[in-house]
Structure formats: C-alpha cells, structure tokens
C-alpha cells in the first residue's frame, strides 16, 4: 500500500434517487488506519454513501476517488463490503463457507476454481469472526447474527485495504460485538481504513477514531468526543437528544420528536 494514496476522497458529492437529493454536497476523506463511524437517522443516506464508495451508485455531481481510482475498480487495493442485513436472499442454497469463498472469486478470475490457499483463507476468515463451527452449515439454517458474522468473514477474506460495513453488528450478541470491535481495531492498526454504519452511538463512539454525522448533508465530522455534542445530535436527528456518559460508555437519550 503506497502511503500517499488516500483510501477514500469525496468532494462535493450529490446523489439524487427518484428525484430526491439523498446526499447533498458531502465532502469527506478517510485516511489509512482510520476507523470511521457513519451515524445518522433512518433514511439519512448512510447506505447510499457506502454504495457510492463501493461503486454501486454513480454520483450526480462531485467526485469520489477510492485509492485514487474510480469506485468499483478495486485494482490492487481490495475493498471488503458488507451489505445491510436483508439485502440478500437468506434461503439461497449455499453454505457459510461458500459465501465466504465468493470473496476470493474476483482474484481468481473466470475459469479458475478455488485451491487450497483459498480454502485456508476462508477458514481463517471464519475463525476470525468466531464462526469456524458454522463453515458447512447452509445459509438458510443460520440465525440473523450468525449470518452477519459470515458476511463479515466474506468482507475480510481478501485482506482488504478498505472495509465498508453497513450495520455489521445488527443482530450480533454482546460477545460477538466485542469480538467484532477488537477485530476491527486490529485491522485499523495494520493500516486498513474501516467505515462502520451504526445506530448504536453509545457502543460505537468509544471504539472509533472519527465519526461522521449524516442527514443528507454532512452535519459534523471529527473526533467522537468533540463532535458528539447536543447541538450536533439535535441537527442530525431533528429532535432533542442528549449523550450521557455512564462509566466508560456514553448513552444517548432522545426526547419526543419536535
């Protein structure tokens, strides 16, 4: 990984879906070794932003560069993506191992089928998310949280330089969430850039380097301690919100909507 190339560089991004500006003039950069939480209410455009970075949606205006290239052309810097739960058919006939193996397909290319190195990488990714015992289970027989672990393993299996995770901990139990954050911190320390969408501000804030608060516009961006004040939460959620620190963990209390 060349130290000069910024993983994500977004300038004046506007995205219109169905005639509606879903993202409005968003500028954001994500550095190597940065762990960023993307926060915001339902419909704020968080998934949309990840899709633009992943090359799934094209901007209406503005520029998006991922490792200096057009999004969706990962080149030598693999991108790991974990879609929001519900984006795939959970009854598709495939094993957990088969799902993770898909992460190896792009590097293999057409006409080539997995070899022992690929199988080893899959086993390693599954054990990194604590799902080695699920390897041969069919997708249809997994619980929601187990499925999330398997998709996380797929995002990790290619040793990506950028991870785009859309509500990765939704449905995970407390132990899995702890395991998830320590895993991601480890990757961050190796210089990977990580974006995590979450609604669990209290859990995610102490873990990350930066937070970006989104509500169509980028409401705030910076260190969690500096950004997450009452003013920002109000303009993000459009209602009274307060963050209480309770031991190590901040909790958010949202009053009735105005």
């Amino acid at each position: 990984m060349s130290p000069t190339v910024t993983p994500v560089d977004i300038r004046d991004l506007t995205v219109t879906l169905g005639g509606l500006a879903v993202l409005d003039n968003v500028s954001l950069t994500i550095a190597q070794g940065e762990f960023l939480a993307l926060l915001g209410p339902n419909g704020a455009g968080k998934s949309t932003l990840l899709k633009v970075i992943g090359g799934l949606l094209t901007p209406d205006s503005g520029s998006v560069r991922v490792f200096g290239r057009e999004p969706g052309r990962p080149g030598t810097n693999p991108v790991g993506y974990m879609p929001q739960a519900g984006a795939i058919n959970p009854r598709f006939p495939i094993s957990a191992r088969g799902v993770v193996m898909m992460g190896r397909y792009p590097a293999l290319g057409p006409g080539r089928y997995p070899r022992s190195a690929d199988r080893a990488a899959v086993a390693q990714a599954l054990s990194a998310v604590g799902a080695e015992n699920l390897a041969t289970k069919p997708l249809a027989k997994l619980s929601g949280g187990q499925r999330q672990r398997v998709f996380l393993a797929r995002a990790l299996v290619n040793n990506p330089d950028l991870l785009l995770l859309d509500e990765p901990t939704a449905g995970m139990d407390t132990q899995a969430v702890e395991q998830f954050y320590s895993l991601i911190r480890g990757l961050r320390d190796q210089g990977k850039a990580v974006v995590v969408v979450s609604h669990d501000i209290g859990v995610v804030a102490p873990q990350v380097d930066r937070v970006a608060c989104l509500n169509r516009r980028l409401v705030a961006h910076g260190l969690p301690g500096q950004v997450l004040d009452q003013h920002v939460l109000e303009s993000m959620y459009g209602c009274d919100a307060m963050l209480f620190t309770h031991g190590d963990h901040p909790h958010m209390v949202v009053n009735r909507h105005k």
């Binding site: 992943g54 090359g55 799934l56 879609p83 795939i88 058919n89 898909m102 397909y105 290619n158």
Partner: protein, 287 residues
C-alpha cells in the same frame, strides 16, 4: 430442420409386442430422439438451476413464447425458423434486460409486455406462411421423434457452447445471482453477467424447442431445478439432482410416450411435474 408430426405418428403405429421384442433403440428416429432428449434434458436442467435461483422463471417463459414470433418471422422472411427464433429471442431478452436495469419498469412487467406482443406478431405472420401452418403444432408442442442428424449437430454445438460458458463463468454467475451488489464492490460486473445469463437462457430455450415445443419448454428449464431445490440446500448437489431429474424426465417420458402412444413433449413435461410433486412430498416428510 423442418419438424413434422407425420413421422412420429407413423412411427407410433408399431404394435406394443414388436416394441418389447425388438427394443425401441433399433429405430434411427428413436436413437436420435434419445440423444436429443439427453442433450437438452441436461442443458435445461443445469441452466435452470441458475434461472430458478435468480428468479428468472418468468423470463424463461417469456423468452420461449417470444420464440413463436421469431419462428413466424423466420418463416415469413424465408430463413430457417429456428435461426429466426434465436436472433429474435436474443433481441427480446436483451430488451427486457435493458428495460429492467435502465428504466423504472420492472423486469416482470417488461416480460409481460413482450410475452403477449411477440405471440401476437407470430399469430399475425403465421397467416402469411402456409408451410408454417402445417408445422404449427410441432413448433408449439415439440416433435422430438422427428429430430434429424442436422438438428443433433446444432443441439450439440450450441448446447456445448452454453455448458462451456457456464463452466468458465460459473462462479461469477453464482456470486452475481446471489449478491449482485457484493459482486460489484468486489469488482465483478453483475450487470454484464445478468446479460450473459439471459443470453445462455435464450440459447437453451431455442435449442430445446424441437424437443418440447415453445409452450412446453419452460417446464424443462424450471421444473427439474425446482424439484432439486426441494431436496438440498447446496448449489452443487442441486445442480447434480436437477441434471438427474432432467435426464429421467426426457428419457423416461420418451419411453412412456412410445409405449402408450402419447405425444412425447407433453409426456416428458407431465413426468417432470410428477417428479417435482414427488420431491415436494419427500421434502415435507423429511421435515
């Protein structure tokens, strides 16, 4: 490559005792029918697994019905009707694909529009083509007993090409039908593979018209895969089971139609439907 109902009907006048004494494979037309049945049965069953799990069953029915318009157009223009069907159906399939990817119109809506309009075009043109009128039933419901050596060459070459492409791009197709967004982010262009898949489906359907006919061929594509999917949660096993069901239905249906003097396309389709019901029953009992 002109299908005809007269040959099968004449052939079927053979008495049952003769059949039992001599074995049905002594007849050249039966050997060719069996070969065509094996080839198309396997082809449809394999492609069908991708079709069923990408939710393209209605697309299959739509494209095969569109081939009626293509056959009629081919006959009217004086070219080979199946060649006409292939070109016409490719244009229809790509149009449906383009509409569903690039406009607000849903895929099934686009199929519904093409389904009826291409049939209407076919019916209009059949009126201008007396030779096609004579062979109408063969095109609609199949005439596997009139398969010629030329037909077999066409089926083998085109079918072999489809299977080779499926083998070469199989894992990319699997990724894109399961999780198109995940595939795109990983660098696999899901839309291109969608077009590849509907192209392979079109070839498969047109290749199989001779065996099962325009109206019945969607069953050959969809039902073996649907039956197999009842019995396993593994893609590879489903592929294998679907192939076995497809083979059993085409070969078994041919023998049954020979023994009981019934139309072969319809017999094959009813047999595969019976296998589907059986598979559903087994799946229920196992739960």
């Amino acid at each position: 490559m002109t299908p005809s109902l007269s040959l099968p009907l004449a052939a079927l006048n053979i008495g049952l005792p003769d059949v039992l004494q001599s074995g049905i494979l002594q007849y050249g037309f039966m050997q060719r029918a069996m070969t065509a049945g094996v080839l198309t049965g396997v082809l449809c069953a394999v492609v069908g697994v991708f079709v069923v799990h990408r939710g393209l069953s209605f697309m299959g029915a739509g494209i095969s019905h569109a081939s009626f318009g293509g056959v009629a157009l081919g006959a009217w223009l004086g070219v080979n009707p199946l060649a006409g069907a292939l070109v016409f159906c490719l244009l229809v399939a790509w149009s449906i694909g383009w509409i569903s990817l690039k406009t607000q119109v849903r895929e099934d809506t686009a199929i519904g529009i093409f389904f009826a309009s291409t049939m209407a075009l076919g019916i209009l043109l059949v009126g201008y083509s007396p030779p096609l009128q004579r062979e109408l039933l063969a095109y609609l419901f199949g005439s596997i007993l009139s398969v010629s050596v030329d037909d077999l060459v066409f089926i083998s070459l085109a079918g072999g090409l489809v299977l080779a492409l499926l083998g070469w791009f199989g894992k990319e197709l699997l990724f894109t039908i399961f999780d198109p967004d995940g595939a795109v982010v990983a660098g696999i262009p899901a839309n291109r593979y969608y077009f590849l898949l509907i192209t392979l489906v079109t070839f498969t359907l047109v290749i199989s018209i001779k065996v099962a006919g325009i109206v019945l061929v969607p069953a050959l594509l969809v039902t073996p895969a649907a039956a197999a999917s009842q019995l396993s949660e593994r893609f590879g096993i489903i592929l294998l089971l679907s192939t076995l069901f497809g083979l059993a239905a085409t070969l078994g249906g041919l023998v049954l139609s020979y023994l009981f003097n019934t139309p072969s396309g319809a017999t094959i389709v009813l047999l595969i439907t019976f296998l589907f019901l059986l598979a559903s029953l087994v799946a229920r009992l196992r739960k």
